[in-house]
Symmetry: C2
Subunit: 235 residues, 2 copies
């Protein structure tokens, strides 16, 4: 069982370009600009919208937003909770791939550098620190969110956060579920731009909350939940 | 006098490439890639490091980080406080330029789109909404932080936040300075990657706080301060 609080950015809109789309000019042009093969680059709605439309990509409105995953990671990995090794962070993608975030990862703030890192990760499944060989990032295929939670993280409670949950404040949610003697919670936050968690995701939740009247961006929810966790744990 | 809380991202590492550097290959190559003139593009350490070194750019370690400004803006503009029109946001750059953020701006999350928007702003000084002609972004030259605070924002209190301030928690800082009857504060947060506020900036502060033992990223400080302001104002 995990010794830390876990954060799972789930159903995340992070993947390489699906095979059907690799011949579309919007993909081949962008791949050429990056000096990569079309199948190696990240699906990105900003550039591949036409290809996603033309090939009627399934669930297209929830896919191709690596920038959202970048923001969510920057938010989580910049906090004292992560820097103190009290937060484990995972990205569970829409294609049942899992990205494990190493303890000492400093995620690049520059988007092109982040993009390069993710392309490398999807190609080689592993990124090591040049200096000490520690694992910075690891990718595993065919790991469902359910498997990740039940067999890898094994938290004492699973708490989903989205607009559709029961209204409450971050302060009250954390005071109910996190204390210095008990903090093995997994928080599940959406890594997609629109729509709601799937039923498969929701049935994994022990608790399901919404933290505002607004439809808040994932990175805002992450910032507030982590900050309240730090207060509860006196970090 | 402002009716809202103000946030000033100050000494911000946002500028176009200085004239001395415009002939360097790292600049001309990148400009060609974007289809822009070298003098129009943003100075970016990720790409122009060699040029910054070669021409011994003054204060180089504090310049050329538009990505940090992007994160700080995304953080502030995603909050209910901004969405409810209770937060005015300004960027005061290292070159005494000021960017005014319009009430309804939805800043692009995609970095290349943000970069394009800023290039357009530095060229034309104004970005309007195509639909209703409202001002989304405005740039003014030769406006010092002092002038911005004393003649434009005119807050009742100026509160600086950085590692060098007096240690306190966001909760206590906000409870001392923000209430539903009194919230015309300007918060000043650094928009540079390293080092500290200049003396010229510090002498504008009525109060100067640090909110953690860690050297927190600006976007983390922004997230926490705005969240506590929302609690104090029941947003």
């Amino acid at each position: 069982m995990t010794k830390a609080i876990s954060l799972v950015i789930s159903e995340a809109a992070l993947e390489t370009v699906p095979i059907d789309l690799t011949n579309h000019p919007s993909v081949t042009n962008y791949a050429r600009k990056l000096g990569k093969k079309p199948s190696e680059i990240l699906l990105d709605r900003s550039y591949h919208h036409a290809a996603m439309l033309k090939y009627k990509l399934e669930f297209a409105w929830r896919r191709g937003r690596p920038d959202l995953v970048h923001f969510a990671l920057i938010e989580a990995l910049s906090t004292p909770l992560f820097l103190e090794n009290l937060l484990d962070v995972y990205v569970s993608t829409i294609n049942n791939q899992v990205v494990y975030i190493g303890k000492n990862l400093r995620i690049p703030k520059s988007y092109p550098r982040f993009e390069g890192l993710m392309i490398d990760l999807f190609k080689n499944n592993l990124i090591r620190d040049d200096k000490n060989n520690a694992t910075l990032l690891k990718l595993q295929n065919n790991i469902s969110l359910e498997y990740l939670i039940n067999n890898i993280i094994k938290p004492s409670k699973v708490i989903g956060l989205s607009r559709m949950g029961v209204q409450n404040t971050p302060e009250k949610i954390i005071s109910m579920h996190i204390s210095e003697s008990c903090y093995q919670c997994a928080f599940i936050i959406g890594g997609f731009p629109r729509g709601h968690f799937t039923e498969n995701t929701k049935r994994l939740f022990d608790f399901f909350y919404s933290i505002g009247n607004y439809s808040l961006e994932s990175h805002v929810v992450i910032a507030r939940i982590i900050y309240e966790c730090e207060k509860a744990l006196s970090v």
